[in-house]
């Protein structure tokens, strides 16, 4: 049986198809079918010939097998320095091998490659900063994931996630109506406490267009209220699009490049329609990478930039605090040891390390902020990046992977961890659940609201 009912090479495109795939609990049948999935070697080789460009060819070619990347990989470190976890080995033995064999690989090989691509690499790109040749294995694994996705060798949740983007232009089954309605509901819930709070939908020429993560809408819509409160307190002229509001891209984790393009184009269409001065996304790492860094290339934008200037939430926060748009009550600053997780996706990959530290200088009493070691662009992945958090099949490997972050946090002595990234936030929550080290974790928004000096016009009459 080459193509299964659940597991096959066809992408999931509609809500019905998503639901059908979801009905296969834990993907049990899906993975059974995967064992019989045929590899279309001709397609694989043709795709490689078309898409494997000089950079990746060169990287695979010039790797000197020096092993400098080994110690940079947290998965190598937590797995007792298993040579099979050396980044160079991981990519050479998968992507390298597929190319060597001109795509003539079998089912077992592809399933093994899937495990390596999703359970032995989070695409955190840390190895790339340590390779003397600048070879970035994370990027190559991103490419490999695309090949695997095309052949149907993709973890169940990733196929669902990519399918959600195709069906809903969101990572979860949240419709445009759900989004607007939920945002309005959240504002309504808070408008008595914060006078004048609104959610301006589809306002043209605003200074800021705000985009979010569908999980906020689905599970913790308080985050939407918090964003509104902070924009309002800062006196910003902001809006949200009723379509194209989802900044994230599980399609990127899945290697579903077509869905990546569809998703990011929906956000760009909103930018083009509403013509805001700037786009700001929520506290999410991969969403920023997808929409701001990689997205322009997926969408084929020649200048490599989104249609309007797009910044990360932490950049806006730093700016608002610096310019006094948001005022902090110094007596309410954090007075306990606190550490912060640098998200790979916008710190290592974009260099925003100073923005978050500037925020810390405003909200933490001097002397209480403790850096993890290593930090900034050298920080380790939270342990759950690149889709790792969501994949049931690789839960054990993921939990092992969390050990590095656990030890880094323990070494700071801090009990409060700020994580301005959804993936990191999740991973850190899960590591507390797994290891019970007694920490608390938070996004920045709720922390800042607690210490905010509200402008008089926002204070309710008592």
């Amino acid at each position: 049986m080459p193509e299964g009912k659940y597991c096959n090479k066809t992408p999931v495109n509609t809500p019905e198809e998503v639901n059908f795939l979801l009905s296969d609990t834990s993907g049990n049948q899906y993975y059974k079918e995967m064992k019989n999935l045929e590899v279309d070697s001709d397609l694989l080789w043709a795709t490689i010939q078309k898409t494997l460009k000089s950079r990746l060819r060169t990287w695979l070619e010039i790797c000197a097998h020096c092993g400098m990347c080994a110690d940079s990989c947290f998965l190598y470190l937590v797995n007792d320095r298993d040579p099979k976890q050396v980044p160079a080995y991981k990519i050479q033995s998968t992507l390298g091998e597929i190319i060597k064999r001109k795509g003539k690989v079998d089912n077992a090989f592809m399933r093994h490659a899937m495990e390596v691509a999703w359970a032995q690499c989070t695409c955190c790109n840390r190895c790339g900063t340590y390779c003397p040749h600048g070879i970035d294995t994370g990027i190559m694994f991103g490419y490999l994931r695309g090949l695997l996705y095309q052949q149907g060798f993709v973890p169940w949740e990733m196929k669902i996630g990519a399918g959600m983007h195709r069906a809903y232009r969101a990572q979860m089954d949240v419709t445009n109506e759900d989004f607007v309605e939920t945002f309005e509901w959240m504002v309504e819930e808070n408008e008595e406490e914060y006078i004048g709070l609104t959610v301006p939908v589809d306002v043209e020429n605003a200074d800021i267009m705000y985009t979010v993560n569908a999980r906020e809408v689905k599970h913790y819509p308080e985050d939407l209220a918090e964003a509104a409160i902070l924009f309002h307190a800062a006196g910003e002229n902001w809006t949200v699009p009723s379509e194209g509001w989802e900044q994230t891209s599980l399609a990127m984790f899945a290697g579903d490049w077509a869905a990546c393009k569809m998703q990011v184009e929906s956000v760009y269409a909103a930018m083009e329609k509403l013509k805001p001065k700037r786009m700001i996304g929520t506290e999410c790492g991969h969403a920023h990478r997808a929409t701001v860094i990689e997205g322009p290339y997926w969408a084929g934008r020649e200048n490599g930039l989104p249609p309007v200037e797009s910044i990360h939430y932490v950049e806006w926060l730093a700016e608002a605090l610096r310019e006094g748009k948001l005022k902090i009550d110094p007596s309410k600053r954090i007075r306990e040891l606190v550490t912060m997780q640098d998200s790979c996706n916008y710190v290592r990959n974009q260099g925003l390390k100073n923005a978050t530290r500037e925020i810390m200088s405003h909200i933490v009493e001097p002397g209480y902020f403790v850096e993890m070691s290593p930090n900034k662009e050298h920080n380790f992945c939270c342990g759950g990046g690149g889709g790792f958090n969501g994949i049931g099949l690789f839960r054990k490997q993921r939990n092992k992977g969390l050990e590095k972050k656990r030890d880094q946090i323990l070494a700071t002595g801090a009990k409060l961890v700020l994580a301005p990234c959804h993936n990191c936030w999740d991973a850190i929550r899960d590591l507390e659940e797994e290891f019970k080290i007694g920490i608390r974790w938070s996004f920045l928004k709720p922390i800042i609201i607690k210490m905010l000096v509200l402008p008089d016009h926002m204070k309710p009459e008592e």
Partner: protein, 299 residues
């Protein structure tokens, strides 16, 4: 009076006292009961896994699981469901406070009835939601009154007949009074308006002499009369009282003393921070301690 009640339950023994009250009120007043349960808290980012609140195990959510949970609830409450009660069972995955509020937004009940806490806070799965307790969040944001039964409702024998309304003379208390009046009128209850004079040093800044206390009690009684008596005359039975002490303790004692089967109070704690959760506002303390159901009115 009550036509649609949202009963949010853990469907465990922690909610048994609440269930007794919920089914009784729904039955007595022919209300529709929406039995609502959050079986699991989402885990693992975008995975389909939730942590089951009862077994604390990780489960994959699918239709079978949700149907199974509904069946469990139906079985758990079987003895209450026999007598032609109009009810629905709804289950939703998410953080309880948020999902209860979402359900209330969609169904617009005229009363939300909350079951007790799921016990040990440290171990409770629900704790995974963000700061603040489920109760605080719901009491703060709900558009309708919220009834909580935390302890065995000793003086609740079925139906409502004797209400204690605790006031601190705030605007929010006026809202709560309107609600208490409505219940008293519709259900022909006795309404007892009560104010507790806070004589703890934190409130007064010093030890009050007995003369001062009695002076303040007289003042408070005058305020109650001025504020509420003209309305209270619409009822057959009512009373007005002021006691001194620690407010939440006095309210609980008073309600016990007069065999109230319901306490009505305003909730105006706007904060949901951890510190407040430990200390608790008056109404939260009353909820924790009272021997009868407590209704918190917010707006």
């Amino acid at each position: 009076m009550f036509t649609k009640i949202l009963f949010a339950t853990s469907a465990t023994k922690e909610s048994d006292h609440a269930a007794r009250v919920a089914f009784n009120i729904a039955g007595s007043y022919d209300a529709h009961l929406d039995i609502f349960h959050v079986p699991g808290v989402p885990s693992r980012g975008y995975s389909q896994v939730v942590v089951d609140v009862k077994t604390k195990e990780r489960v994959d959510v699918d239709d079978d699981y949700l149907e199974w949970v509904k069946d469990e609830i139906r079985t758990y409450y079987a003895k209450y469901l026999e007598n032609g009660l109009r009810y629905d069972i709804t289950v939703a995955i998410g953080f309880p406070a948020r999902e209860i509020l979402r359900q209330a937004k969609d169904t617009e009940p005229d009363l939300i009835l909350l079951g007790g806490s799921t016990g040990d806070e440290e171990e409770a799965v629900y704790k995974k939601s963000m700061a603040g307790t489920t109760l605080q969040k719901i009491a703060r944001s709900a558009k309708c009154p919220v009834l909580v039964v935390n302890r065995p409702a000793a003086s609740f024998w079925g139906g409502l007949s004797n209400i204690t309304f605790g006031t601190d003379f705030s605007k929010a208390s006026d809202k709560a009074f309107e609600f208490a009046m409505k219940v008293a009128k519709n259900l022909d209850c006795e309404l007892n308006v009560f104010h507790a004079l806070d004589i703890t040093s934190g409130a007064t800044g010093e030890m009050l002499s007995q003369d001062e206390i009695e002076q303040k009690i007289r003042e408070a009684l005058r305020m109650i009369r001025g504020r509420y008596e003209s309305r209270l005359k619409e009822l057959k039975h009512y009373s007005m009282d002021v006691w001194e002490g620690i407010p939440f303790i006095e309210i609980v004692k008073y309600a016990r003393d007069i065999h109230s089967d319901l306490i009505v109070m305003a909730h105006h704690s706007k904060k949901t921070e951890k510190a407040d959760a430990i200390l608790g506002s008056n109404v939260e303390q009353v909820i924790v301690r009272a021997g009868c159901p407590v209704i918190s009115v917010n707006r």
